[in-house]
């Protein structure tokens, strides 16, 4: 069942990507998706790890919207830093606790930090990230803790 659905999704992706709907091209697509699934099955024998989707989709979309606003805000902040004559740079490397339980949520949190200009996740440890900020202010600790709590909330069973 899972195999058939995977093949169908791959074939759909092919149709979206190609845009040329002649019988031969569509045939290529069908063969390609079947071969891809077959190769995937063979690899499964070595690594039977199933990837479960450990996020609640609706909350994730809400988080994405919030993240876009944050990206816009920090883009403007860094742009201002770049274009002002004096360039108020205040670099700092500091530790940020990550309270997410699953690895996926930790990756989302780390990538969200890097995605907002002005902060970059430099190193990850068991329960902490090392974050480099270009114009550091003491409020950054609080802002990043807030972002971490929001990422923890999109995990199922996370606090609202």
């Amino acid at each position: 069942m899972r195999v058939v659905v995977t093949a169908l999704i791959l074939f759909l992706l092919w149709l979206l990507m190609s845009g040329i709907y002649k019988p031969m091209i569509i045939g290529f697509g069908a063969v390609a998706s079947i071969v891809a699934v077959y190769v995937g099955q063979r690899m499964d024998r070595a690594d039977g790890d199933r990837v479960a989707l450990l996020l609640s989709p609706l909350k994730f979309l809400g988080y994405l919207g919030w993240l876009m606003i944050e990206i816009a805000k920090s883009n403007i902040a860094v742009t201002r830093t770049i274009l002002t004559q004096k360039m108020p740079i205040r670099q700092n490397l500091f530790r940020v606790p990550s309270c997410q339980r699953s690895e996926l949520a930790q990756v989302i949190f780390a990538n969200s930090i890097t995605l907002t200009p002005g902060t970059i996740t430099v190193e990850t440890e068991e329960n902490d990230f090392w974050v480099h900020a270009v114009s550091f202010s003491e409020d950054d600790h609080e802002a990043l803790a807030d972002m971490g709590a929001r990422v923890a909330a999109i995990e199922p069973g996370g606090a609202a």
């Binding site: 816009a72 274009l83 990538n111 190193e123 440890e125």
Partner: protein, 119 residues
């Protein structure tokens, strides 16, 4: 209607180009490796998103838009991952960020026993 879409997409595309140029200016103006990384991330988050959104509006409801959205999702994930890889490589090989003078380090960053290659 087409005029409205055109105006909106032009605003997005010009905005995206602006952020991309600002990223380039920042790369030149900023003093060292670590701050330059931040300048580039202006171009590849804000600039990339606005440019792709503007091009989607130009594309309308076509396969081109689907491809643009897929490209956007892909860059949205790989961009920060690549930035992290570069920053992490710099830290591991011993390149220390210059911490501002008025900030007192509470604890040393990891790998602080690796000598700074700049001496």
């Amino acid at each position: 209607m087409t005029l409205l879409v055109d105006i909106l997409s032009w605003i997005l595309i010009v905005g995206g180009s602006f952020f991309t140029v600002v990223g380039a200016i920042g790369t030149v103006r900023f003093p060292d490796f670590w701050s330059r990384l931040h300048a580039v991330s202006v171009a590849d988050s804000g600039g990339m998103l606005l440019l792709i959104a503007g091009m989607c509006l130009q594309g309308g409801f076509t396969l081109v838009t689907v491809k643009l959205i897929l490209i956007g999702i892909f860059l949205f994930i790989t961009g920060p991952t690549a930035t992290h890889a570069v920053a992490n490589a710099a830290l591991v090989t011993g390149l220390r960020p210059r911490v501002a003078r008025d900030i007192e380090a509470v604890e040393l960053p990891p790998y602080s026993d690796v000598p700074d290659p700049r001496g």
